[in-house]
């Protein structure tokens, strides 16, 4: 079952082709990442899904309903649009209560829901302040709060954490994960590490065209990266032995600022190739760690690398 079906969507602004016959589906209850360089068409696609923009060709279905009849999705689809502004001279509470009143709530219900949602994004204390007095980060969280209002089944978030400090970005990511239990969430972001951490499916756009779409696991299968921190640096022959293990595509020392590692440092980037039918990530990692232990070296830390970023740069030619 797909929450969003995008079928051959094309959109031009004058001579500029913003989207060119884009087709993909967003699975239900997934956190779906929409990636692409600047000007790739991410925001245009979000705007078409939400029916702000009319496509020249193609159709979009959300929850089985053609977005040409967007009114049938009232209350079921919400969006955090990039760069949209609230009324500057009106208190936050008034504006969000107005949105809930439109959704059919009584004033009392609306106010309670709004205060609860503002609490989730850490804005309850400024609920009665005018929007014009909020900082950039607060405005961002306010926009996200309005998208989380009510019980939408599909939520579109256009660069939700851009411009937020790490703590607030983390808070928003946690909220998104929590909401996945009851909603499908589509996120666009330039932060590929964040998308890799958060999303289970992605689509990559480049110059208005879809260049890659699918589960993150499948997309990064041929180049799954891990950072490996060892108790001591590897000798040449040890490096060769480990590189020749089945499923290991590459093993190289991590360079910092263009220089090769210092003698004391023992950080490595392992790239796995899991494209073989029966190649399992855990089996390959276990074999690798076992070999390292056999060499008398202690693996001190292993963290997920930037597999998605590498794949992204590969397909967008970055």
């Amino acid at each position: 079952m797909h929450a969003i079906c995008i079928n051959r969507i094309s959109k031009s602004f004058g001579r500029i082709r913003a989207l060119d016959s884009v087709t993909f589906d967003v699975p239900s209850r997934s956190i779906f990442g929409l990636l692409g360089p600047n000007g790739a068409g991410k925001t245009t696609l979000f705007s078409i899904i939400a029916s702000f923009l009319k496509p020249q060709t193609g159709t979009v279905e959300v929850l089985g309903i053609d977005t040409g009849h967007i009114s049938q999705l009232q209350g079921r689809l919400s969006i955090f649009p990039q760069d949209a502004q609230f009324q500057r001279n009106v208190p936050i509470l008034d504006q969000l209560v107005f949105f809930r009143l439109l959704d059919g709530r009584t004033h009392h219900e609306a106010q309670n829901e709004v205060l609860h949602t503002l609490d989730l994004v850490g804005l309850q204390s400024v609920a009665k302040r005018r929007v014009g007095t909020l900082s950039h980060g607060m405005l961002k969280r306010l926009g996200i709060a309005q998208a989380f209002l009510g019980h939408p089944e599909v939520i579109l978030l256009d660069e939700p954490t851009a411009g937020l400090d790490p703590a607030n970005a983390r808070q928003i990511r946690d909220l998104i994960r929590k909401l996945q239990e009851r909603a499908t969430i589509m996120v666009s972001s330039h932060n590929l590490a964040e998308v890799q951490e958060l999303c289970n499916h992605v689509a990559i756009l480049d110059h208005g065209k879809l260049v890659l779409a699918g589960p993150v696991d499948a997309i990064t299968r041929t180049g799954r990266e891990y950072n490996l921190f060892l108790s001591r640096p590897l000798q040449e022959n040890e490096l060769e032995n480990l590189s020749s293990l089945g499923g290991v595509r590459d093993l190289k020392a991590i360079t910092v600022m263009g220089n090769t590692q210092s003698k004391e440092s023992a950080s490595y980037l392992v790239t796995l190739d899991l494209s073989g039918d029966h190649t399992n990530q855990d089996d390959v990692l276990a074999a690798l760690l076992r070999s390292i232990l056999d060499m008398g070296i202690t693996p001190r830390k292993i963290t997920e690398g930037r597999s998605l970023e590498s794949r992204f740069l590969e397909v967008t030619g970055g």
Binding site: I79, V90, L101
Partner: protein, 331 residues
């Protein structure tokens, strides 16, 4: 098109919140201020000479001179009113001829006025109605306000859509209601606010005339004030709808204001200047309600009702054009 799913509840909500936004954003306050200052200044200019004459009278002869004052005002303003209403002199001649033949009887006028009437060309029933049968001071103020309100209303109505398209603020509501509800709700909110402002203006002027000047019976003053209020309120509706339409055509509030002003004033100016060279150009006035709006103060009820319907028809046409553009455009 989503007109089928228009929701009265959403429209009411959007209209009431729009009034708050308009006031808080400053456009509403600017309009209120400009409309009040302009209208009260006009009223002051019209009423001040009367007050000055009255101040010069002794208490004993105040009563006897009251009629003289009114007659003087009426006769001074009659040519201006005739020109404003577009009454041609040949119409007067025809009317004069008809009156001579007893088709129409002249209104009962006081002795002084009768003498003046004999010395001047005869009057048209419309000017007679406005200046002799109804409180003349109020009629003059109404005519000036009906002429000026279209220019003032643009200050209130120019930003119904354009600003929120420019800053993308509309995107927060587009998934929560129909575009039709937003468009109609904002139009109604603007119309309601302007009607409230007009009511305050008319009430203030009428109250002053009734309490301070005391030259007209209170009942007549109240009824004519109500008529004038309705005429003003109705005459502004097509211009608000025109501004709604213009506001959907451009993304810049400033440009929307400039275009609205240019269209409203430009039609009038072109029709006037053009008609000097070629008379039929005067019909350009009918592109907007300029050509008919004064008829809202016509003595015949059927005539003013017909004008009301015509104004509403203008409003509906502009609203439809605006709605169609708003519904089909990218936001």
């Amino acid at each position: 098109m989503s007109l089928k799913t228009v929701s009265a509840r959403h429209i009411r909500l959007i209209a009431s919140y729009w009034i708050r936004y308009v006031v808080r954003s400053g456009a509403g306050l600017v309009f209120l201020l400009i409309a009040l200052v302009f209208s009260l200044t006009v009223a002051h200019i019209i009423i001040m000479p009367v007050e000055q004459i009255m101040a010069q009278q002794t208490k004993s002869d105040q009563e006897s001179n009251r009629e003289k004052i009114v007659t003087t005002i009426v006769e001074l303003s009659r040519p201006v009113i005739r020109w404003t209403l577009g009454i041609k002199s040949d119409e007067d001649d025809a009317l004069f001829g008809a009156m001579k033949q007893g088709i129409s009887s002249p209104p009962e006028v006081p002795m002084l006025e009768h003498v003046m009437a004999q010395a001047q060309p005869p009057t048209h029933p419309w000017t007679t109605f406005l200046l002799d049968e109804r409180p003349a001071l109020l009629s003059i103020i109404f005519l000036i306000l009906i002429f000026s309100m279209p220019f003032l209303i643009a200050f209130l109505a120019f930003n119904q859509i354009a600003g929120d398209v420019q800053n993308l603020g509309l995107r927060y509501v587009l998934l929560r209601t129909e575009r039709a509800n937003i468009f109609i709700g904002r139009f109604l909110g603007t119309a309601l606010f302007s009607t409230l402002v007009i009511a305050v203006i008319i009430a203030t002027i009428t109250f002053y005339l009734g309490v301070k000047i005391k030259i007209y019976p209170a009942g007549l003053l109240a009824v004519w004030a109500l008529h004038g209020f309705l005429a003003l309120a109705i005459s502004t509706l097509p211009y608000i709808a025109l501004c709604s339409w213009i506001s959907t055509l451009v993304d810049s509030p400033f440009l929307s204001l400039v275009i609205a002003k240019m269209v409203i004033g430009g039609v009038l100016l072109l029709a006037f200047l053009g008609s000097l060279a070629w008379r039929p150009v005067i019909y350009l006035n009918f592109a907007l309600p300029w050509g008919i709006q004064n008829h809202l103060l016509h003595p015949q009820l059927t005539h003013s009702l017909g004008t009301t319907l015509a104004c509403l028809a203008y409003m509906l046409v502009f609203l439809f054009l605006g709605y169609y553009r708003f519904e089909t455009r990218d936001l």
